[in-house]
Symmetry: C2
Subunit: 239 residues, 2 copies
């Protein structure tokens, strides 16, 4: 197909496709003549993966190149998913501001000597290990999610809210059920690039869906809780 069709089918503007090609993320097409380049289905699939990594995963071009190299190495699905999973941004209590800056007015808001960046108390890391052991989870030592969870628990502790490993077990059980739903989405996908793309989708793009479902469920729980207290005289459903 020509770049115009590649752009139409991928939803990626031609100028962006050329940019990815210049950056070496997308293989060259087959030159039919000095002015016409032919692309195939593999280019289309690779393009969708590049786009999801950069635009939705927030990965840099360099980080994206690393992931693509891993995808192209002869790894099994397990390893491919691991590489993609670990390359993606890690949730953190310090990065919950979607504007990327503290405050719409650009004001840091925390004033001088902000406490942000305090180190996690040793207790937090110990609680993470206890939770992983309680759950019988198999987590690699290199997982970026261990220290990230410890930092989040430490931030909660600094706010005066301590969660023990036992407190987190019910949440961890629900997380396991969610992950099982996630992996059911991999069934039948054998192609490594398709698996990597789905891993990105599930880890990055589907994450806000899961978070928003939680927010909506919280809204609903708040309504139900209110009605219970008000003896059923609560706000009516808007649907």
């Amino acid at each position: 197909m020509r770049i115009s069709e590649l752009s139409r089918r991928s939803g990626v503007p031609a100028a962006t496709i050329k940019y990815y090609r210049r950056e070496g993320l997308l293989p060259e097409g087959r030159a039919l003549n000095p002015t016409t380049v032919e692309y195939d289905e593999e280019h289309l699939q690779r393009l969708r993966l590049i786009r999801s990594l950069i635009q939705l995963g927030g990965l840099s071009v360099a980080r994206t190149r690393e992931v693509l190299e891993a995808v192209d190495r002869p790894l099994d699905a397990f390893e491919t998913l691991g590489v993609v999973h670990h390359a993606l941004p890690v949730p953190s209590a310090e990065t919950e501001d979607p504007t990327g800056k503290r405050g719409e007015d650009g004001e840091d808001g925390t004033g001088p000597d902000s406490a942000a960046g305090e180190v996690a108390p040793a207790g937090a890391a110990a609680r993470v290990e206890a939770l992983i052991e309680n759950m019988g989870w198999q987590i690699s030592d290199a997982s970026p999610h261990r220290p990230a969870l410890a930092e989040s628990l430490a931030a909660l502790s600094r706010l005066g809210t301590d969660y023990t490993a036992d407190d987190l077990v019910p949440y961890a059980r629900l997380a396991t059920s969610t992950a099982d739903l996630d992996f059911a989405q991999f069934d039948g996908i054998e192609d490594r690039i398709a698996l990597a793309e789905r891993a990105v989708v599930l880890t990055v793009l589907f994450e806000p869906v899961v978070r928003l479902l939680r927010r909506l469920a919280q809204e609903d729980a708040n309504h139900r809780r209110h009605q219970r207290r008000a003896g059923g005289r609560g706000e009516q459903p808007t649907e």
Copy 2:
């Protein structure tokens, strides 16, 4: 207590406390004499709420003032939680980059004519409404989470992955269970400021914990899946 003790007990630097006071977020203390100001437990509690809203919630000073005014208005817990909940940043597929910019090198990465910002197909909003109806959820028309979820589903569609309302129901059920765990944490809290603070903690600060538990559960699910395929000859637990 003096500002030094207020700082010690809140974990907020004295300079930051003075900054919040200058911004009118924290009420003046009681002046014992021209050089000494006395603060009480209410100042401490308010300070912790301000800090969680600004530093962890990523709210601007102006937005924080709005929330504090809502907390001080004679609202019931239901309304207070609603105000806090809606004031907080909304998860979005466009803001998953924790660095706040696309790419560590500052390079946008999507090149010119980025497709970011495409409008959500009407179908996405319809799927959100269908899901809310299927779940019997009570969601206010003003909820920022409806359009945010529609946009996330639209982003998935643009990537060639369509989720129907039925596809999302199992996830929504787990989200309901998670929300029930969340609200169990409100039991016994009657004080509005304490409720608002807990709402911030649960919505903002506990969110990365839930997300990280999902990541860890995905890692474990990947290990289990790998071992099943490999007939049990998989990586051994690291714990």
